[in-house]
């Protein structure tokens, strides 16, 4: 097993997220712009949204272990929500009953007022022998499925209980099957088709997977139909589609393909349908589909809801998720509960942006969308927002909704028309260095397109997360935000981070959330400055502390580019380059003498068991130091726990032992040709409000607001010191959650704050200059040229690039 290859493979993902370099081929784009006004059309449909955060009251005297919610069903009168969870039990003794710990409740909510009208304790109604497993609300009744033990016979049955939601009366009980049969499962989904009810159940044996459909017939008898293939397993039946009152279409996901079956409910005859007839159906999407009582079937796509038109064999879009003011991040994950095209009810759990609270107690949301008579934003001018890396998260989505609701003239609309992956070729990538070079080129191609569009007035108005696209950092492309953020109090904000992002004194891209790039290790190992290393000090660090294995794994040229970028302001100032000083010579000499020529070649293997990786020698060797681009609080804490006394993040080797750099995880900029700069600045200001800064920090980010950061760090430490949190801290170098045994304290909060204050500058790579270094320096590193032969060529080429930007 080659553990290093898995680390490198994961590093590709990390690099994908973190490296964003640009290459400026030419900077000749027109300064003339043709402003194209776009407004929200009155014809664009709009749905008014009613959003309810569902909460269930629990016994605060008991420790809540877990609580999950799901939808039982809805009609014109009620919405029924299931809450399934439990309280902590100290010791499981024989006299403990379900009522002592189990939470299984159905909440009935009035569909119109959205007020809770009833909370039905299912455990209480079913009694001590029944363990509820699912609930459906259909035809105005609650149908509970439970594993029911009969003490007199010792047999357990899957049982259906019919309950009146208003009176809570138990109306009927029906045993379905023996729940302890070797392959029996608890009842999950039920489908009403005409007068029939279908209960599909997946059967798993040691050798095969198939389905059994239990069909409750109009007279109450139960028939069983096997859906089985002699050659392949049937893994999923995502839904059952009514063809008419007595027959259904059953799509089935097999080993490699899909089959379709037809079932006649009157005769229980199952036949295979012609696959070609249904090849237009995307079976994978059907898992989220909804069978409306009016016979229509609605399914979700990534962008909205469509009706399945079986007759014309197509999907008919009926709702675009952008046509409502609901968080765009979680709305695609909600379930369709009711739909009649003018009114759509969606419910479901959503992952909170708060990373420091228990995942075992879930958030649940009810969203009712009603088609509006007119679009309230009609006539507003559209401001296009492009998020380069990382996309738009839940917090930004909420901020956009808030802006759109409050601004009477402008409407922010995200765009995905720019995509670096369109320019990225993954062929022939065999090492970290290969990846960096390919990524540079792709970023360059994209940034050229972006810069051209901006200059020509057809680009986005607000640009996020593009601080690595150095080509944009000039007055032709972006507004200098300095006048709008010049009076920030350094007691309230990390103004050193804002200052570190300036280019020649101008603030083109405001860093809102950032990463910390450097060497995480024991502070006692730092150089004389206490916050970084000189090249001599780092050399000693490699050979004495790290036993000769550098933790910065790049090959010479990319390693050198990294160190150059770290000291960029020493070599390039006010548009003039000077490489003749001793600092440049020192850096070049250090890299030539101490860094390997190329980074390691990746060695692709089958997926490695993460448990094995945890115990690998590679993990053990990183207990002294780690070269990090620390993405947030958990990233710092997880490494702090793994590295001996790993409380410091120190700067990369430099001539002056300076502190670490910071990367920009979330930044915001305004196009120099934005349709309305003031409106865009209004959105930028929102990013610094206390409310949004707090949300960012709880989402595991380092932020500018010092008070928000301390608050978030406190919450993080509380969570990661808890039993659940200890098992769920994100190890970014492995790309997954791990367990950490350390306990964290207030001292960690102080350490993080001090590290941030020691950050020297933004890691804003200028790809044009990097590419020149990468082309010219190898001859020196290989001993083919002396440094004083290379320096004039470098100076000349770099100065040309800088002059073209003036």
């Amino acid at each position: 097993m080659n553990t290093s290859s898995n680390i490198i493979s994961i590093k590709v993902l990390v690099l994908c997220l973190l490296f964003s370099l640009t290459l400026s081929s030419t900077s000749c784009y027109s300064k003339e712009s043709t402003v194209k006004k776009q407004t929200v059309s009155a014809d664009t449909p709009w749905y008014d949204a009613e959003v309810i955060d569902f909460k269930l009251e629990t016994d605060t005297n008991k420790h809540l272990n877990s609580l999950f919610h799901s939808i039982a069903g809805a009609d014109d009168k009620y919405i029924a929500i299931i809450s399934d969870g439990g309280y902590h039990v100290k010791a499981w003794t024989d006299d403990i009953e379900y009522k002592d710990w189990l939470i299984y409740v159905v909440t009935i909510i009035d569909r119109t007022t959205k007020q809770t009208v009833k909370t039905i304790d299912i455990v209480n109604i079913l009694g001590k022998c029944a363990y509820p497993t699912n609930v459906n609300y259909i035809d105005g009744k609650i149908w509970v499925y439970a594993d029911t033990y009969h003490p007199d016979t010792g047999i357990s049955m899957n049982t259906e209980y019919e309950i009146d939601p208003v009176t809570e009366e138990l109306l009927n009980t029906r045993d379905i099957n023996n729940s302890e049969d070797a392959t029996a499962n608890w009842i999950l989904d039920t489908y009403n088709v005409g007068e029939y009810k279908i209960l599909p159940e997946q059967v798993l044996t040691e050798t095969e997977v198939y389905y059994v459909l239990r069909i409750v017939e109009p007279d109450g008898t139960i028939a069983e139909v096997e859906v089985k293939d002699p050659n392949e397993n049937i893994y999923v039946i995502p839904t059952i589609i009514s063809l008419n009152e007595t027959s259904v279409l059953i799509p089935a996901a097999m080993n490699r393909d899909y089959n379709f079956y037809k079932l006649d409910l009157e005769t229980n005859k199952l036949s295979k349908a012609d696959k070609g007839t249904y090849s237009w159906l995307d079976v994978d999407q059907l898992a989220g589909s909804y069978n409306s009582p009016n016979g229509n079937i609605y399914t979700k796509t990534q962008n909205g809801i469509s009706r399945i038109d079986m007759e014309n064999k197509k999907l008919e879009p009926i709702l675009d998720f952008d046509s409502c003011a609901v968080n765009r991040n979680y709305i695609p994950r909600l379930e369709i509960v009711d739909c009649n095209e003018d009114k759509i009810l969606l419910c479901g759990s959503y992952e909170s942006t708060n990373m420091f609270k228990s995942l075992l107690v879930q958030d649940f949301i009810i969203v009712e969308l009603t088609k509006a008579a007119k679009n309230p934003h009609a006539g507003k001018t559209i401001l296009e927002l492009y998020a380069h890396e990382g996309g738009i998260d839940g917090t930004i989505s909420d901020a956009i909704i808030k802006f759109n609701e409050n601004n009477s003239k402008y409407y922010i609309q995200p765009t995905n028309r720019y995509n670096k992956r369109d320019y990225m070729s993954y062929d022939d990538l065999r090492s970290d260095d290969d990846y960096i070079s390919a990524d540079l080129k792709a970023s360059a191609d994209l940034s050229y397109e972006l810069a051209s569009d901006i200059a020509n007035g057809v680009g986005p108005d607000i640009i996020m997360n593009a601080s690595g696209l150095g080509q944009l950092n000039n007055d032709n492309c972006l507004v200098d935000l300095s006048p709008y953020f010049q009076d920030l109090d350094s007691d309230k904000y990390f103004t050193n981070i804002i200052d570190g992002a300036r280019i020649n004194g101008k603030l083109y891209q405001l860093p809102v959330c950032y990463t910390i790039e450097g060497i995480q290790t024991d502070p006692a190992l730092a150089g004389k400055t206490g916050i970084g290393f000189t090249t001599e000090e780092y050399k000693a660090f490699i050979y004495e502390t790290l036993n000769g294995t550098d933790i910065i794994e790049n090959g010479q040229v990319h390693y050198f580019a990294l160190l150059f970028n770290n000291m960029r302001n020493t070599f390039i100032n006010e548009g003039l380059v000077d490489l003749t000083g001793p600092e440049f010579t020192e850096l070049a000499g250090f890299v030539k003498d101490n860094v390997r020529q190329n980074s390691a070649i990746w060695d692709y293997e089958d997926e490695i068991d993460p448990e094995e990786l945890d115990n690998s020698s590679l993990a053990a060797s990183n207990n002294k130091a780690y070269y990090c681009n620390c993405p947030g609080i958990s990233g710092y804490l997880v490494k702090r726990a793994r590295i001996k006394n790993g409380t410091a993040i120190l700067g990369l080797p430099s001539s002056d032992g300076r502190g670490p750099m910071f990367g920009t995880k979330l930044s915001v900029a305004v196009s120099a040709n934005a349709l309305n700069k003031e409106a865009c600045i209004e959105f930028v200001r929102m990013m610094l409000t206390d409310e949004i800064q707090k949300e960012f920090v709880l989402n595991d980010n380092f932020v500018l607001n010092r008070e928000a950061l301390r608050y978030g760090l406190n919450e993080a430490i509380k969570y990661f010191n808890s039993e659940e949190g200890q098992n769920n801290i994100y190890e970014y170098s492995l790309g997954r959650y791990v367990r950490v045994d350390s306990k964290f304290t207030d001292e960690d909060i102080n350490n993080i704050e001090n590290i941030i204050l020691s950050c020297s500058k933004a890691d804003s790579v200028d790809a044009a200059i990097n590419m020149i270094l990468i082309e010219e320096m190898p001859a020196y590193f290989a001993g083919q040229k002396k440094l004083d032969q290379v320096i004039p060529v470098l100076q000349n080429r770099i100065q040309k690039v800088l002059d073209e930007r003036k």
Partner: protein, 114 residues
């Protein structure tokens, strides 16, 4: 959140049953590798453990609850979150005395988290 159930194992059958669930692509990120029940003696008393070894693919997160059935009644034990790329062996809490008849793993999926 969708709820998935894995097959149960009866008492006395100490079989490492391999149950692989391959789901529709929107949910194709769980694999229950191993599920079993065991009865242990720690020198003082017997207790039952339910196991569920679950693999969750990178980028997804699931909640796993292992329940043991003892003398006809289900008791919820290990509850945990399994996050992307992890293979987790979920152990139940200890219950005194032997006599469990079944184990079931309930997996709730959180879907993609990044």
């Amino acid at each position: 959140m969708k709820k998935l159930i894995v097959a149960l194992t009866a008492m006395g059958i100490m079989v490492g049953s391999i149950a692989t669930i391959s789901l529709a692509s929107s949910e194709r990120y769980h694999e229950v590798i191993y599920q079993d029940y065991n009865n242990r003696f720690n020198g003082s008393y017997y207790y039952d453990i339910g196991w569920c070894k679950t693999k969750v693919y990178s980028g997804y997160k699931s909640y796993v609850k292992v329940s043991l059935k003892k003398n006809g009644y289900w008791q919820a034990h290990c509850t945990t979150i399994v996050s992307g790329g992890n293979t987790l062996t979920c152990y139940s809490e200890k219950i005194q005395g032997s006599g469990s008849t079944a184990v079931k793993s309930t997996i709730w999926d959180y879907g993609p988290y990044n």
